[in-house]
Amino acid sequence: MNEILKINHLTKTYHTLEKETVAVEDFSMDLKEGEFIAIVGPSGCGKSTILSILSGLEEKTSGDIFFKDQQIGYMLQSDALFDWLTILENCLLGLKIRGEITEEKKNYVISLLKKYGLGEFLDSYPSHLSGGMRQRVALIRTLSTKPDILLMDEPFSALDYQSRLAISEDVYKILKEEKKSLIMVTHDIAEAISICSKVIVLSSRPCKVKKVFSIHLTDGSTPILNRKTIEFPIYYDQIWKEIDYES
């Protein structure tokens, strides 16, 4: 597998009237094609900032980011569905903004919606959907422009435990089937280990890479099965010890 994204010595400093905040300091990582990487770290350490820079929402202060002309899709923490648009219209928003709505692309989006259990809801409005369904819609909206790399910022943190398990199962399946690469930020260690093959642990702010774990689970077929492997709790313990939780 070859690298499709390289980040070298990324730093980011925010300036406000009161003070300057170094959010990211010397952050480096690589992402290979088809790889799933999780970023975990204490609250406020700068995880979202890294994703915002990768997606172009924020400027970096210094460092280098190399893309292989990849398309980036950013799935925000909240689903941010527009309640005045139908599910289908919500999913077509990205294409509409780019002026790229064609019959073919529309059919692709409809096929995704149908494939992932939302076929009946094309013309419904977001308020009629459950939290997990809304999250799936948000994912399909992100996939509509066919990004190669997905960035997810705590995608399931708004959901209850049962829905989280179910949706991570779905998302895992969708992303593997659609052959995407993933960088996801989470504070849930179990989620990170069960979905990703690499977990990057960040130090508290300003965030640096503290330790990188390569995850090898026997029978790694789906997130839920991954949670049942014997290696799972061992990784969990190791990662838990590395995170600087504030007391």
Binding site: S55, G56, L57, Y74, L76, Q77, S78, A80, F82, W84, L85, L93, G94, K96, I97, R98, T145
Partner: protein
Amino acid sequence: MSPEQKKYLKTIKKKKVLILFLQVFLLVFLLGLWQIAADLDLINTFIFSSPSRVMKTIISLYQDGSLFHHLWVTFYETVFSFLLGTFLGIFIATILWWFRLLAKVLEPYFTVLNSLPKVALGPIILIWFGASIHSIIFMAMLISVVVAILNIYQGFQSVDSEKIKLMRSFHAKKWQICMYLIFPSNRENIMATLKLNISMCLIGV
């Protein structure tokens, strides 16, 4: 359709009819009360008039053909001024949203303008424009424009920042954020302002 769904729709319909009936009933009741109070001299008919007197006036106005003229003038003034005021308000609010600096500069002026009792401006406007339809329209417009700017601009600003982020993550241009997000998420706010302005304008006129 299942029987339960049918039943549900039926009860909803029934409720609607009941509400309408009670609304009409309340109107008749209040008019009756007013008439009785006037007949029994419980209220001063010189100030409060009475339903029968109002009817008589309407009939006489109707007979000399001036009722429709009056109605028409009031209607025309109101609609025209509130439409103009509100749309001007939306337009200005959009400009303020677009140019943040301008908004910051003008903010205190709008606040002062809004806290003024607008009816107090009546005499000044009458002097400027004379007692014509123009001054009435101008007055109504002034009120509605200020109300609209403040309400709508505030609505524009309180649009969910996550949704703006989402738009930007798709590399939306500023006009797209405006058309696809800011306007539609303020549709209820804009409707509410329109309604508010109708009533405000009736006072102005």
